[in-house]
Amino acid sequence: MEYAIETLFLTKVFSDWWGRNRVVAVDGLNLKVRTNEVFGLLGPNGSGKTTTLKVLLGLLHPTKGRSLVLGGDATDPQINRKIGFLPEESYLYRYLTARETLDFYGRLFKLPPKVRKLRIEALLDMVGLKAVANRTVGTFSKGMARRIGLAQALINDPDLLILDEPTTGLDPIGTRQIKDLIIELAGRGKTILLCSHLLADVEDVCDRIAILYGGKIQTEGAVDDLLRHSDKTEITTGRLNAQAIEKIKRVLADEHAECMIDSPKTKLETFFIDIVAEAQREAMPTSGAVSKTGLSEFLSAKSDEQSRREAILDQLVSNKPSGEKTADTRTQQVRAQPTQAPSTDEDLLRKLTEETGSAEPKHVSQLAQDKPEPVKPDRAAENVLDELTGRSGPDKSQKPDIQQEENNA
């Protein structure tokens, strides 16, 4: 199964009370999310992100087209037992306590009582709500409810995690935790579809993104490719004295390059987390959520079948053609201190271009064209990349190959 999620010309039109078509929420969407990738679905409010998810999950019926989730219909219990879903708001029963809520969802998965109990405790611990596990969800703040929502999405140790605006209402630590969690889960071979308009979150965790507007994909591709300024170079180093700076400026002047030299600022996120971490170290009392790090045991505990599956996934990951990174390096990237030196742009760029040159067909133009046939997202991404790097347009001679490959797919 190459794609965890695949939609074919998916269209959803909402009609008014008289049955007249009024709003085209999703318009001929061809979305492909590969197995074991973190895919971000971006777009402004009302661009059709949530509608797409609802159609994928069978909560809405498509007007036209169809969708496949994990190779089947998401309403089939055999399929949806492998899916975790966090809706845009945590729609939970207000009268159930946090523990009862998870117990209820665990029962829906027919988890044996022992496993259920272990997982509930592990998840409560993971989302930092163990201390308030016996309070009803109705008394929770939005962020705390969000954490329970996330825990319920993970109770079945899903292969595919669909998250709709996972970080809304969360404090920066919670946001950061979710981001770390997503990266770790991806490292364990899970597929994650993330729906958000909080661009910073998406940028930090997603392998690939699609930007939706008016129910159509406007652009799609690997995040790194889409965002790289190939005409700029950033150098990060330790503290330099004025002499050294002058020297560098001279060197650059010889190269006819303009430069800006500044001391980098700490990101507010990092600063905030440091402050709260300090308070937690001093064990100050709180009635809210407590931040924890790391993943629950059961999400990593592997059954035989699971490890076999993951072995296959690992293989797939290592064979991946483009600049996919493993979760560990990603985690470092997110957690990177400003003083740490990231790998240089040139390195990455070289690697990318080399690999694209050899393994992958060039590209298919997708931007601003209403092409009805499914388009390989990666190639679209490369197209964007090419536009950014100022290379030539689509190479027509590559087209038969693409068709061929699509047939194979």
Partner: protein, 459 residues
């Protein structure tokens, strides 16, 4: 099944946390004992018991019915409106399992609450005689006429159709029929109906000195040492000055006199003086019944009365004897309430499967109200049916036939009259209410909810 059970458990928690549930439960817990103390009926112990059982069971049935409607409607429409279904239906549970879980939850609550409140009512009822320090006469009366379940035998309605036809032809031949009656089939039918009523009433009337005889074939009291009861009411053509009528009754096996002349089973003669227009009971030892279950009742209009005496056709006369215990009868009455609650749960889930909360509630309450006066509705439409027969026959009648009939019988009717409410009656009512009415609704609700677009937005 396990996920159905998970939903059911959650539904129970949800319903019990509804304010209306709390209010109703507290109300019943307070009201039932108060009613036990304060209801006096006609002042006798029997009246007190009858009033209490009747009102407390009806109140319990009413409040639980309303609770069922509210809880069952809310549990489905609320989950859709507050979108908890988004997280539930994306789990490995089929939608029909979800609705079945809701149904199971509501039925369990109903069963639990009904069991609780009927136990309270039962407890109060059987301890009332002790509590009221009743004397032995009153105790004997309630033992015979309340704390029992008596089977009722009514005389078969005599077939008067041949009499009607001959009377009709006679009138026709002599030209005494009202104008136009013979030409119109509807008018003819109505006129014959009238004649039949007149003739059968004549058969239940005794002129001064005359005798009326009824024969029962299948009288089977459990125990020959118990008593039989002849319950009767009569009306008169001319009211006597003190509104009382003298009567002589012969009760026993009259065949012995006609055949052998040897009296083996006793024949009882009873002379009485009773008020006109109210019910009275004659108590007779059960040994009057012949071994093959035959019993004759004869009423003699004593010449002291100066009027024709007649027995109303519906409830003028019946023979009662003990067939079961009060406890068993009470349990079956409670079971009848439960059957109706199950129907209401199915109805409410059906409404909730495609309507919003207010509309669903309105629909359920309307059906509930109509079910509670189904007798009236059926009769009105039947009489209307004579005039708009075809339209009515194909449109209204099937719809009205779908209505359950909650007033037929009323929940406490059998208990108040200490009348046997048999298992076969329970089975019959259960089949018609559950299989023919609740089950189709339940299946419909499963289908509708399964194919419904849950997250649908109308713009």
């Amino acid at each position: 099944m396990r996920s159905i059970w998970a939903v059911a458990r959650n539904t129970i928690k949800q319903a019990l946390r509804l304010k209306i549930a709390a209010v109703f439960i507290v109300l019943l817990l307070v009201l039932l004992p108060v009613m036990g103390l304060k209801m006096t009926g006609d002042g006798t112990l029997k009246g007190h018991l009858q009033a209490f059982v009747s009102y407390s069971l009806s109140l319990t049935a009413l409040l639980l019915s309303l609770l069922t409607i509210f809880a069952a409607t809310y549990t489905l429409t609320g989950d859709v409106k507050d979108k908890q279904v988004y997280t539930i239906l994306t789990k490995p549970i089929r939608r029909y399992e979800f609705v079945m879980g809701k149904f199971l939850g509501i039925v369990i609550i109903d069963a639990g609450l009904l069991l609780l409140f009927s136990a309270i009512i039962y407890g109060i009822t059987i301890s009332l005689p002790t509590f009221k320090k009743a004397d032995s006469k009153e105790l004997a009366q309630v033992r015979n006429e309340f704390f029992t379940a008596r089977t009722s035998l009514k005389p078969e309605k005599p077939d008067v159709s041949s009499d009607v036809d001959s009377a009709y032809n006679k009138l026709k031949d002599s030209g005494e029929l009202p104008a136009g009656v013979d030409e119109h089939p509807v008018a003819r039918r109505n006129y014959k109906k009238e004649l039949a009523q007149r003739i059968s009433q004549r058969k239940r009337a005794a002129a001064v000195g005359e005798e009326l005889v009824w024969q029962f074939d299948n009288v089977r009291p459990e125990d020959p040492n118990q008593d039989l009861f002849v319950r009767f009411k009569y009306n008169v053509a001319v009211n006597p000055p003190d509104m009382e009528v003298y009567s002589r009754w012969f009760i026993g096996d009259d065949r012995q006199i006609q055949t052998t002349g040897i009296i083996e089973t006793p024949i009882y003669t009873v002379e009485r003086k009773d008020f006109v227009g109210t019910f009275h009971e004659i108590e007779i030892p059960a040994d009057a019944v012949a071994s093959d279950g035959y019993l004759m009742l004869a009423f003699q209009n004593v010449p002291l009365n100066n009027t024709v005496v007649f027995f109303p056709s519906e409830d003028g006369l019946e023979l009662l004897y003990k067939a079961d215990t009060f406890t068993a009868n009470f349990s079956r009455a409670v079971l009848l309430i439960f059957i109706r609650l199950v129907f209401l749960a199915a109805l409410a889930l059906f409404a909730g499967s495609f309507l919003s909360f207010p509309v669903a509630i309105l629909l359920c309450l309307a059906v509930f109200a109509m079910a509670n006066m189904s007798g009236f509705i059926n009769e009105s439409f039947d009489s209307l049916g004579n005039n708009i027969s075809r339209v009515y026959y194909y449109s209204f009648k099937p719809l009205i036939g779908l209505l359950p009939r909650f007033d037929q019988p009323g929940v406490s009717k059998y208990l108040v009259l200490a009348r046997m409410f048999s298992w076969s009656q329970v089975a019959k009512l259960g089949t018609s209410t559950l299989l023919l009415k609740a089950l189709p609704l339940a299946i419909l609700s499963l289908i509708i909810f399964s194919y419904r677009e849950i997250a649908k937005v109308i713009v």
